[in-house]
């Protein structure tokens, strides 16, 4: 509650939080079918119809309602981003905590492996994974999770290393607390603040990567809608039907902006030391 209040008190938190909340509502409405039209329904007579009272954002080449597709597209992008970031966070926590705790060879092996993964441009790594498994929604989830796991591992390992030597951890050991208890209770809880910031920012990147993959035709497959896919479909029609380009383009931009703003605000609120620090 206090966190919500401080987010609202922070100027960029207010804007970012509002955007994210709005997108969440839109995504949920899209998922439960509260769209103006059936997003897959093809209104053959009204193909490439300009925005109007019936079709708020016009229709595409197959006569499908752009507004409805945008709604489920946002839902789709959100599902992929949330799932992949959740996966990356869990993997990152497990790898980072154990690397910091056990140290030595285990630490070395994990961190070198993460270096290898980080060595790739994100999109290339995702591409590699997708070609192995074949394109699709859950492949993108895996690919994006894979790309961002090293970042979470680093975010966890750094502070965990310094937490490990703190007195309260030593104290917990002398009490005879179990390893799992210390790791979850004393280490993980102290990492919640940096992780929250990282998760929010990673959601922005994940949206960006998901859009890129779908745009290249390697993410969500037609006839499903996703923002990147809608843009790639709009590519050759943009002079004839600019609404196909403009609405999804701004939907992506504003959505990512929302998470970035929220992430910045959270960083200011949760980690006062890094105020105005390097992005």
């Amino acid at each position: 509650m206090t966190l919500l209040r401080s987010i609202f008190a922070h100027p960029s938190g207010r804007i970012g939080g509002t955007i994210v909340a709005l997108y969440l509502i839109i995504a949920i409405m899209g998922l439960v079918g509260l769209t103006p039209h059936d997003p897959l329904m093809q209104f053959r007579i009204d193909r490439l119809h300009a925005p109007s009272a019936t079709y708020w954002m016009g229709t595409d080449l197959l006569g499908r309602d752009v507004a409805s597709r945008l709604m489920i597209g946002i839902a789709q992008s959100f599902i992929v981003s949330f799932a992949s970031v959740a996966l990356a966070t869990v993997l990152g926590i497990v790898l980072g905590l154990t690397a910091a705790w056990f140290g030595s060879y285990w630490d070395g092996t994990i961190m070198r492996a993460m270096d290898v993964l980080l060595a790739f441009p994100a999109i290339l790594l995702a591409l590699l994974i997708i070609t192995i498994v074949g394109p699709g929604t859950w492949t993108s989830v895996m690919a994006i999770a894979f790309v961002y796991t090293p970042i979470f591992t680093r975010v966890v390992r750094g502070p965990a290393l310094s937490l490990k030597t703190r007195e309260f951890v030593d104290a917990a050991r002398t009490f005879g607390s179990s390893r799992t208890y210390i790791l979850s209770r004393h280490m993980l809880l102290n990492l919640v603040a940096p992780l929250t910031v990282q998760v929010t920012l990673a959601l922005a990147w994940a949206l960006l990567t998901e859009a890129g993959l779908s745009f290249l035709g390697l993410g969500t497959q037609p006839p499903q809608a996703s923002l990147g896919l809608m843009l790639s479909e709009a590519r050759n029609l943009m002079e004839m039907a600019p609404w196909l380009l403009v609405f999804p383009a701004f939907a992506i931009m504003i959505g990512i902006l929302g998470f970035n703003l929220l992430g910045d605000a959270l960083r200011d609120i949760l980690d006062p030391r890094s105020r105005g620090a390097v992005a």
């Binding site: 790739f120 999109i123 590699l128 002079e239 620090a277 992005a279």
Partner: protein, 296 residues
Amino acid sequence: MNYLTRRLVTFPVVMLGVSVLVFVSIRLVPGDAITAMLGTEAGLLTPAQRASLETYFGMDQSWFGQYWHWLGGVLQGNLGISVTYGRPVLDVILRVFPLTLELALLSMIVALAVGLPAGVYAATHAERPSDLIVRIVAMVGQSTPSFVVALLAIYALSVWFGVLPAMGTFTPLWEDPLKNLAQMILPALTLGFAFAAAVTRISRSAMLDILSDDYIRTARAKGVPARSVIWHHALPNALIPVVTVSGVEFGYLLGGAVIVEQVFALPGLGRTVLDAILQRDYALVQGACCSSRLIS
């Protein structure tokens, strides 16, 4: 310095890891290169023809044998033969690489030329409306995927100015610099846009930190005029983090090049890798991934 030596020491290990990862993962891809190359005609190959092709591309050996063979070749400067191009991989890479490098460098120039002054301006006008505007633009820039920028730019150009970006056959820089730059300017602006946003944010926060440092107060106490305080005393110090981050981000620029090259149909390294993955051109993917790693 410490960071650099550490990087140099771990570099061979990381490179080896990268090559193994790429090697294993592309061989996990279903389908084989000969089918991908010849399409339906592959069905017409006699077993003997197929076997000789497999021998030619080294596909009859075990994975370990293939990797060992490949590694041995790399150390002699031989990256193998590309199935799709029918030419040595090194040749293919060297042909497409200059374009990507040019694209990345141009984008970097765009980013620094826009981002640095914008960041300095925002820092010296901190918390004023103009600072807020710069920060908002930078935030939007960082939140926009490069292909969205590309599409919006193409759309704006064609609708408002009636011009289409000079696509068509790509002209290398050394053949016709002007024509080349005309083709490269939009991709470079597109790729540079997000990067410029990052540079703006970094230089703003670096400048803000430095403007409150003691030696800036000393300069003021000496009677140095405000403009000179900013450009001569503060900026050289602010450049240090900006350059560091730019170096790191240069690698990401190469990744971003994959999408931008795709949108603008530029025959660069990114597009080649993408095609190679889709064509299952093992040797080319391997060579291209490792060489893109090598420079970033």
